[in-house]
Amino acid sequence: MTSGTLITQITDYANRADPYPLYAELRKIPVRREDDGSYLVSTYYEVRSLANDPRLSNDTTNRPPGYARVGQPEAESGLPPSFIFTDPPVHDRLRETINRPFGPPHSPRFLDGLRGELATVVTDLLDAFEGKDQVDIVEDFAYPLPVTAICKVLGVPREDEPRFHVWADALASSLDPQAGDDGQAKAQQARQDMGAYLADLIETKRRHPGPGILSALAPDMTPADLEATAVLLLVAGHETTVNAITNTTLTLLRHPDVLDRLHKDPGLAVPLIEEVLRYEPPVQFVPWTTALADIDVADTTIPKGAPVWLMLAAANRDPKRFKDPDRFDPGRKDNEHLGFYTGIHYCFGAPLARIELHVAVPELFRRVTFSRLLEDPPPYRANAVLRGPRHLPVAIEALTA
């Protein structure tokens, strides 16, 4: 098997339901050069080391001409990249500012304050299962919760969801290496449209501050930076948590023994959710880093300028780091997975995602008695990076209050 075909296979939709054998193949060469000069890094310690390496940039304008400049708006758009696609010091300044109304030390109670509302959303969603013998976990449960959460966090009207849903989808798809020029063009258009929508909203917030972090940030950020941030958080808040909730549901229904244990011990939810983030991470790999210098890693030199893909989902199943890595084991000790990445670009929304998962998952399985998965594997979204089921149809037996 040549390296060229392996990455093609990973991005090939036919392998979306189970890319893990391909990742295992990938790990045989921890740092693998692709024919186009990109490098794929797939083993735990190497991924972790590179994600924390100051010689690796998230600003894809550091790539030589000819390579995809993921996350960089076209120059004529006049828009800045969002902070995930920047390096320090710009990155640190933006992230620190954005964190001020979001988390500790300045706002240690903000996210915790959302728990009650999110729990109500979960209750309402599950109440609507009443009288049904089958539901789609994605449409009926996993999708509505994160959307409500991110709208609350940002202060975006929930009723505008049908509008930004389309844009968010197009933007998320553009992270997929398979997106192609058409996908990139759609993404640029979506970025423009969503930007225009959010610019209006931000302008309104500036004049009439309301709840949510956009209002809080409006005085401290340039409109362009805030708009880029809002786009990023809206997209990231949309897609990844949906996949995390769906992946957890799917994994539990595939492991009835674990589900039994969860029923007996609801406290198992905490390690169980972490184990899902290792076992089926919602962001499978990060294809947007670039070497700023020659980097020696695992007997390979990644040359300056090379695009570097950090294969989180492969690293999370590295037998050198995790014993019996293909086993779903919520009792796993020392589960320092890379599901939320590591280093300065560690998932900004991780604490929000955890709250959503902890509010949603135990309650779902407490109230709903599932009889079975109606399709296994379920149909997946096209995206290889933000990987998750498009639908998860399940048959349900009973619903308790």
């Binding site: 080391s49 924390n52 390496d53 100051p54 010689r55 010091p89 700023l292």
Partner: protein, 464 residues
């Protein structure tokens, strides 16, 4: 074979005594039980409390955000030990293999672990030290007393010594809205640990937060009123400061006095032990039944030419304790070396400071990322052309990378491009450490030479 049998008997029925019931002692005890030690375990501690965590005592606890009594260390497991708390060890009889306590009791051991740590260096003048308002800060009680005083309506606090503890106390005082004067004998805060270049950043940080910082001066006398309350302090530059509270933060002293005459290589710089935590005797012969770990230990480190290294670091205490515990109940070939790369952190004036390696060994320094002027940077220290340490201000996430560079003996100065590099070329400068022969209170990492037994003079606090 008989040695293996001995180890097996020791693991099952041996008597292990741990002198020093703090972080290192507790983690060692837990490790012993984890590794299957089923014999008797005795924990001796001079404080009346079960093991507690010290880092918060100069931070959250002073602000009243955590009560000192809530700093008990989390237990990893039950250790089934006999606790002898509130009574100190008085002496060690190696021949009889027993520890004598200050209450006259003797405790016999088959294996002894010494984790007696350090104490705050007291103010040199006992009568002045006894004034109401003069504080040290090392223990839970110290922290509770100081917190009560600081939140009880004082106007000005004097901090004597701008090492890490002193700087953290000053930071807490400012956060509490108190006027604070810091008197530092060296040219800048943190200079002993980080050098003058980084010290200058700490200097700006302190002044920027409203600290009345006086460097290059010593406090020569503390003066009380007729009822014994602190009123003012006299400085070596002739100035006088009115203060109701003085916090003496002149570094730590190792608790080794009780070992005087025992024949083990213990002195003011610590207890010499090998890389496996086995304590040396004064002749440089390694003992096989006495171990040391934590702040009180000094052991040779391959990265630093096998000089004995003494560390006052939280992480070191944990790791060295685990290694010591493992080795205490193992036969020779199974023993492991303690090869910890020094690392510590501090938070002060809203900045997270972290250090890895041994900065004070550095002969050159470059700012590899960020900028000193922004108080947000990673400074890398070089020693004879290799990377020996790195210090970050609000950049701790990068230090794992530099840790690898230090461990790999990577060349200095680093010549690669990195995110947040502000210049095309890095220009190494002298990190400006004070004369190493003048002990400074800021140093938390000390290279203490190659000899297990100490023949050098003890620290004598300088006062004019």
């Amino acid at each position: 074979m008989s040695a293996d049998t001995d180890v097996e008997i020791l693991r099952r029925r041996g008597r292990i005594v741990v002198v020093g019931a703090s972080l290192a002692g507790l983690r060692a005890a837990e490790t012993l039980r984890d590794k299957g030690f089923t014999g008797s375990l005795t924990m001796i501690g001079d404080e009346p409390y079960e093991p507690y965590d010290r880092p918060p005592l100069s931070k959250q606890a002073l602000l009243g955000r955590a009560r000192p009594e809530d700093t008990a260390l989390p237990r990893r497991r039950d250790i089934d030990a006999e606790w002898r708390l509130g009574v100190a060890a008085e002496s060690l009889d190696r021949a009889a293999k027993q520890v004598r306590l200050t209450n006259g009791d003797t405790v016999p051991y088959d294996r002894l672990l010494i984790t007696t740590g350090t104490r705050a260096r007291p103010w040199f003048h006992p009568e002045e030290a006894a004034l109401d308002g003069v504080f040290g800060l090392r223990t839970r009680d110290d922290s509770a007393r100081l917190c009560r005083k600081l939140t009880g309506g004082v106007s000005r606090v004097l901090v004597i010594g701008a090492g890490f503890t002193g700087s953290e106390v000053a930071s807490a005082c400012r956060e509490l809205g108190l006027d604070v004067t810091v008197a530092e004998r060296g040219p800048a805060p943190l200079v002993g640990a980080l050098g003058g270049v980084i010290g200058a950043v700490a200097d700006r940080l302190q002044r920027g937060h409203g600290v009345d910082l006086r460097c290059g001066v010593s406090v020569t006398a503390l003066e009380g009123d007729d009822v014994g309350r602190l009123r003012r302090a006299h400085l070596s530059d002739g100035s006088v400061i009115d203060a109701e509270v003085a916090v003496v933060s002149l570094g730590a002293m190792r608790n080794t006095e009780w070992l005087a005459g025992s024949g083990v290589a213990a002195g003011p710089r610590g207890i010499a032990c090998d890389a496996g935590c086995r304590v040396f005797d004064v002749n440089g012969i390694v003992t096989d039944d006495i171990y040391a770990a934590g702040d009180v230990a000094r052991s040779p480190h391959p990265l630093f030419d096998y000089q004995f290294l003494a560390l006052e670091h939280w992480g070191n205490a944990v790791e060295q304790a685990e290694i010591a515990a493992h080795n205490m109940i193992c036969a020779g070939p199974d023993r492991r070396p303690h090869l910890w790369l020094p690392m510590f952190w501090s938070t002060q004036f809203g900045v997270n400071i972290k250090s890895v390696g041994v900065p004070s060994l550095g002969d050159q320094l470059v700012v590899a990322q960020g900028a000193l002027a922004e108080a947000r940077f990673v400074a890398v220290y070089g020693y004879r052309g290799r990377v020996i340490a790195a210090v970050s201000f609000d950049g701790a996430k990068w230090l794992g990378f530099y840790e690898q560079q230090i461990a790999a003996g990577a060349p200095f100065p680093p010549e690669y491009r990195a995110v947040d590099r502000r210049t095309e070329m890095l220009h190494p400068v002298d990190p400006a450490f004070p004369d190493p022969h003048l002990p400074t209170h800021g140093a938390t990492v000390t290279l203490t030479g190659h000899s297990p037994s100490e023949r050098r003079v003890a620290f004598v606090p300088a006062h004019a």
